[in-house]
C-alpha cells in the first residue's frame, strides 16, 4: 500500500490487529448491506469478548448471528434483536450483555464518534428505560437526555462501489448505518462489490470520502433476503 491506495487482497489482512475484547462498529440494517465476509473472517479468527455496535444482531446462522455460536460477542449495542433465537437465549441467560439503543440515537452516536462530538442531547428515550441514569436538560420547554458518542477499535462495513482511494458509493437501502459506522472506528475496514480505478467516480456523487477508510477489499456477497415479499402483476 502506497499513497492513498487502501486495497488489501485478503480478509486476514483486512482484519489484521483485531484482538480479543475490542469494540467493533458495524454497518448494515437487518441482513441488508452487512459486511458478511468480514463477519465470517471474525468467526474464523475466533476473536472473543467483542463489544459490537450494530443496529441488529443478524439472524441464526447469518450476519452477526454466526458470532454467537462460539460466544464471541460479550456485549451488543443494538436497537432491535428480535430476529435471532440464539441471541435471545444468550441474552436471557445473561451470557450476553445487551445495551438496547434507539435506532436514531445509535446512528447519531456513531456519527458523533466520527465527527468529534463527544455527546449530544436528544428527546429520544426521555422518560423511558433508555433515559435512566442519563442527564436530563430542558431546552425551549422540552426535556432532552444526554447521549455519548460511540467509538470503535475497528469499523466493519459494506459499500457498493469504491475507487482504490476508498471513496465510496452505497446502493439503495444498503447504505443505512454503513457511512457512520465507518467514521467511528479507529481502523475502518470496508468490503465492496466493485473496486474501480481512481477518477472513475464523480466527486459530486461520492457518498463517503476515502479519508475515513483504512482498508478496502472486494468481496462476493450472498445478500440474504430476510422477508421476501412480492406482489403479483
Amino acid at each position: 500500500m502506497a499513497g492513498f491506495d487502501k486495497v488489501v487482497t485478503s480478509y486476514a489482512e483486512a482484519l489484521e490487529g483485531l484482538e480479543d475484547n475490542m469494540t467493533i462498529i458495524a454497518g448494515g440494517f437487518g441482513l441488508c448491506g452487512i459486511p458478511e465476509n468480514l463477519i465470517k473472517e471474525i468467526k474464523r479468527r475466533g476473536t472473543k469478548g467483542l463489544t459490537i455496535a450494530s443496529n441488529n444482531a443478524g439472524v441464526d446462522g447469518k450476519g452477526l448471528g454466526i458470532l454467537l455460536e462460539d460466544r464471541q460477542i460479550k456485549k451488543m449495542i443494538a436497537s432491535y434483536v428480535g430476529e435471532n433465537a440464539l441471541f435471545e437465549a444468550q441474552m436471557m441467560s445473561g451470557e450476553l450483555e445487551v445495551e438496547l439503543t434507539p435506532q436514531g440515537t445509535l446512528a447519531e452516536k456513531m456519527r458523533a464518534g466520527g465527527a468529534g462530538i463527544p455527546a449530544f442531547f436528544t428527546a429520544t428515550g426521555y422518560g423511558t428505560p433508555v433515559g435512566e441514569g442519563k442527564e436530563v436538560r430542558v431546552f425551549n420547554g422540552r426535556e432532552y437526555i444526554l447521549e455519548e458518542a460511540l467509538f470503535g477499535d475497528f469499523s466493519i462495513a459494506k459499500a457498493w462501489k469504491a475507487d482504490r482511494y476508498g471513496n465510496l458509493m452505497f446502493r439503495k437501502t444498503a447504505r443505512n448505518f454503513n457511512p457512520m459506522a465507518i467514521t467511528a472506528g479507529k481502523i475502518a475496514v470496508v468490503e465492496v462489490e466493485e473496486i474501480v480505478e481512481v477518477g472513475q467516480l464523480d466527486p459530486d456523487e461520492i457518498h463517503l470520502p476515502g479519508i475515513y477508510v483504512n482498508r478496502l477489499i472486494q468481496g462476493t456477497f450472498e445478500k440474504t433476503i430476510e422477508q421476501l415479499t412480492v406482489r403479483s402483476a
Partner: protein, 218 residues
Amino acid sequence: MALSREQLAQRVAQEFHDGFYVNLGIGIPTLAANYIPEDMQVMLQSENGLLGMGPFPLEEEVDADLINAGKQTVTMVTGASLFSSAESFAMIRGGHVDLTVLGAFEVDCQGNIASYMIPGKLIKGMGGAMDLVAGADNIIVTMTHASKSGASKLLAECTLPLTGKGCIKRVLTDLALMDIVEGKFVLRERARGVSVEEIAKLTAGELVIPDNVPEMRF
C-alpha cells in the same frame, strides 16, 4: 362491531393530507398505504433510509438492497430518495415527517406509550420507535382497545416500560378514535355499532365523553 384490520387501516388513511410525508410502522399502519385516496399524494418514509417507498416488488423486481424497516423487500416510487440512517433520523428527530403511525401495547391518558418491551417475556428492542414518537408532532397510535380477556390497554398510567413520555395525542383502537387532552382521553368517534358505554367500560384511563360521538365513516 370492532373494526377489522382493514378498517383500522382505512381510518388511519383518513388522517392523510395531500403532500404529507408519512412514516408507517409495521403491521396495521403499513396497511394504511393501501387506502391513500387516488386524488392525494402521500410519500412514505422508511427509517432505514428511503423516502418514497412503493409497493412490494414483482417477483422479477426483487432487490436485496431495497428493503423497508420491517426488512421486507419493497420498491421505490418516482421521486424517491435514498440516504443514511443518520440522515433518516435527522429527518425524523427534526420533525420533518408530517405524520407517524405506529402500534402499541399500552397508552395512557398522560400521552405515554409502551410498545417495545414486556419484561421477562419480550425484549426485541425499540428499533426506531422511540425516535419516531419523540420526533413527531403528529402521531396516531393504532392498537386493540383491550386484551382478549377484556383488560383495557388505555390506562391511567402505563404499566410496561415506556417508549415515549407525553408524546401521544391521538389513539385509534378497534373500538374508538380518541384524543388525549390535558390528561384525559376524549372520545371522538366510535366503531359502527359499538356503544359509548362499551368503550367507557374498556377504557381504564379517565374518559371524557362529548355529547355527540359519531360513528366512524368509511
